[in-house]
């Protein structure tokens, strides 16, 4: 799938944002927006309504779990993928409970991360219009 949606990359480290942005651009022709912390992410989300959010967890001021809760309170439908090196069961399960759509490890080779992100996009999005309702008898 050639992804053409809008992606919000949230990470406090600029080089990670750049790395993830470059990787996201290999998946199609997305519009990529960046935020350096959770507070900015919530504000940008409200303004830009991205299709997909790639959200780090360890961030100052407002961490990824709090950001996930804040965005889910605004929108129940957008796709939120946690992208983090924090992989303990408690955090993974908490994010699932709070409404994250998926959870990807950040501490893996770029090709593996890109393949995982491609999988998520294939599972969450389609570029085909929904089938028309079948008329009843």
């Amino acid at each position: 799938m050639n992804f053409t949606g809008k992606i919000l990359v949230v990470d406090d480290e600029a080089h990670i944002r750049k790395y993830v942005t470059l990787m996201a651009r290999t998946l199609g022709r997305p519009t990529v927006i960046e935020a350096a912390n959770g507070q900015d992410a919530v504000a940008i989300f409200a303004r830009e309504k991205p299709d997909l959010i790639l959200l780090d967890i360890n961030m100052p001021r407002m961490d990824g779990v709090e950001t996930l809760q804040a965005i889910r309170a605004l929108d129940r439908d957008c796709v939120i993928v946690m992208l983090t090196s924090l992989v303990n069961r408690q955090t993974v399960e908490e994010c699932a409970r709070l409404g994250a759509n998926d959870y990807l490890r950040k501490d893996v080779p770029q090709a593996e991360m890109a393949a995982q992100l491609q999988r998520v996009i294939e599972e969450e999005f389609t570029d085909e219009p929904p089938a028309p309702p079948v008329p009843g008898p």
């Binding site: 759509n101 990807l104 969450e124």
Partner: protein, 66 residues
């Protein structure tokens, strides 16, 4: 000459006795393990994480770019 504690070979092999476990106790043990801090801090690999997140997904149609 054989040592006295060596198996003689003509004795019938020992048959393990039947073990029965209480389902309630097993479930309690599982619950205790799940609540243990070491379980909560267990590091998961991507395969395990993906399994936790597998559920019925509603695929979204991408909006056209303006």
């Amino acid at each position: 000459m054989k040592k006295s504690d060596e198996p003689t070979g003509d004795a019938a092999p020992a048959v393990p006795g039947e073990m029965r476990y209480s389902l309630t106790e097993l479930l309690q043990a599982v619950q205790l393990e799940r609540n243990a801090p070491t379980f909560a801090m267990e590091k998961l690999d991507q395969g395990e994480i993906t399994k936790l997140y597998q559920k019925s997904r509603t695929r979204r149609v991408l909006r056209p770019k303006k």
